[in-house]
Amino acid sequence: MQLSPDQQQALDAQKVQCPFCKIVKGEIQSKKVYEDDKLLAILDINPAAKGHVLVMPKEHYPIMPFIPADVFDHLFIKTKLLSKAVKEGLLLFGDTIYIANGYAAGQQSSHFMLHLIPREEMDGLDFFTLKRGAVDAVKTKEAAALLKQQLRSSLRQQYAKYPLAQEEQEVAYKPEEKQAALQQPAPKKSTIGTGRQYTKETLIELIEANSQLKQLITHYPGDFKKQVQQNSRLQSLFAHVNLAEVIAHFVPKKEEPEEETSEYTMDELVDLINDNPKLHDLLLKQTYAFAETVQKVPELKRIFGNVNIEELERAVLGREVRQEEDVADILETFSKEHITSLTPQSPIQEQDQSIVRLEEQEEKEEKQERKKPEKKEEKHKEKKKDKEEAEESSVDADLLSKLHAEFMRGKK
């Protein structure tokens, strides 16, 4: 990194004061774990855990981007080695590698170093496992555009070793129908010619003529918008009209009769999820998959459709999990309810009943036993329909059969 004379001066002043430079020179004593011509690894005198190691370049670099490529490579090759040594030396199964750039990030010394903190369960350092919050999707999108550029340019300045993969795109999971529909507008454009500008009316006409495309816009206005922004040909096609207006022309007419409002309030949904650990896990760990499944399966959409999944996740995180004693019982009932909600025939009223059922467990047990075989059949149908969902429901099926077996044993 190029430094201005002022910066260089400031850096030199820093070096004189720096206690870690003195440690490197041997003016201050330290417990050395490893040393070579470029690096020094010592024990932290104020460790987060026994065996907390500081790995630093011998030269004084204030933050990570200042480190030249050769030292950088060496540093992380040795970090890898040291991490292994720490784990095996202390007979532990984990460590946390922690780097702080800047005071706000918790950097305590102006000499760059990285922390190797040996970890074990219940060591009181759980804060290193980051809490998953649901971040604002719009802001994330804005950030993404910015960061993509920045990351490339800063990597180019630094030490990229591998060539970039070819112009990557956000690859989304799409139903076939949608993809087929998407291919339609492109040829259309070529037949009419490139130079023309389309007015809103002509575009609407064109879309009306193409039932697939029309369906796409009606059902997935968000995706349609996204695709238009990503595809340069589509973009030029829609360049001279307000996309929102075009979408608005199609959406409100059809949407109202088809989309039913969610019968559940946020609180009820949170209860629903909190009571089912499997569902809970799925939501928190694979929110994306969850959201996508919800969008694809109409039955699920009816339950979760009007709720922002990320908001839901946040709400779930905010709640306390139920006590373990209850879990087994609730697991049983809810795995069933979950499946009920997945079955194609189940009307909303039945789902409503399922909530009532929660509170009246004894009545339920009888019903569930009777319903079980039916449900399984339905489940098999579902499997064929949707892979991802199949994973979900098959898990529940296993669970269900186990619980059922247990239950029967208990009765005998």
């Binding site: 417990k31 490893y34 005198i45 460790p47 987060a48 855990a49 026994k50 990570m64 981007p65 950088f72 992380f76 090759i77 970090t79 890898k80 080695l81 040291l82 991490s83 040594a85 720490v86 030396g89 199964f93 984990g94 460590d95 946390t96 922690y98 780097i99 750039n101 800047g102 706000a104 990030a105 918790g106 970890r119 804060f127 290193f128 496992t129 980051l130 998953r132 919050g133 649901a134 971040v135 604002d136 994330t140 993404a144 960061l147 550029q149 920045q150 990351l151 490339r152 800063s154 990597l155 630094q158 030490y159 990229a160 990557e168 956000e170 690859v171 989304a172 760990k285 994306y288 998959a289």
Partner: protein, 184 residues
């Protein structure tokens, strides 16, 4: 294998990908801790950093570092953290992830620890335990290249003394291996 990060790497799950090359991937997780929280992952399913070859380990951190710079300049934060929970003990089960976090003063992260007081003897035993392992691993690294050299020389201890300027050029592994041979 049912690993969500592998699915992201294979493009089966959609994600906001910021960077991609032959071996690693940087993306914005949809449920990040904060806007601008970046994940850097190897494409291959690795569970710990030690499983990664040297090149990959370096590349992961290079991308993480570039991501940190990008976050710093692009989002106007005041600092960045790079965090790697490496292994089960650190609470990470499954695909290795480096977290890049934009930080601002007074934000919600509390990545601070209270220093523990250890007896001086503890420090010594720990140093010894780790340093021993380092020596073993360092020696293991290039056995094929280095091992024959001292063996073929009948009196390595004597010959090494006139060569110190050259010695400094050789890598640490060489030095440690020779050092080991010299001990008996």
């Amino acid at each position: 294998m049912n690993c969500s990060l592998c699915s992201i790497a294979q493009k089966q799950l959609s994600a906001t990908i910021l960077y991609e090359d032959a071996v690693c991937l940087a993306y914005l997780p949809h449920n990040g801790a904060v806007v601008g929280h970046i994940h850097v992952i190897p494409k291959q399913h690795l569970e710990t950093l030690e499983d990664a070859p040297d090149d990959l380990a370096v590349q992961l951190f290079a991308v993480a570092s570039a991501a940190a710079t990008a976050v710093y300049e692009g989002l106007g934060c005041q600092g960045t953290n790079i965090l790697c929970n490496n292994g089960k003990g650190a609470g990470r089960i499954g695909h290795l992830v480096l977290d890049v976090l934009p930080r601002k003063e007074g934000d919600a992260f509390a990545l601070k620890w209270e220093g523990k007081q250890l007896a001086p003897a503890d420090f010594d035993t720990v140093v010894q335990a780790i340093a021993d392992k380092v020596e073993v691993f360092a020696a293991k690294k290039e056995p094929a290249v280095v091992a024959p050299a001292p063996l073929s020389e009948p009196i390595p201890a004597v010959q090494e003394q006139p060569q110190p300027p050259e010695e400094t050029k050789t890598s640490e592994e060489d030095y440690l291996v020779k050092h080991l041979y010299r001990i008996p």
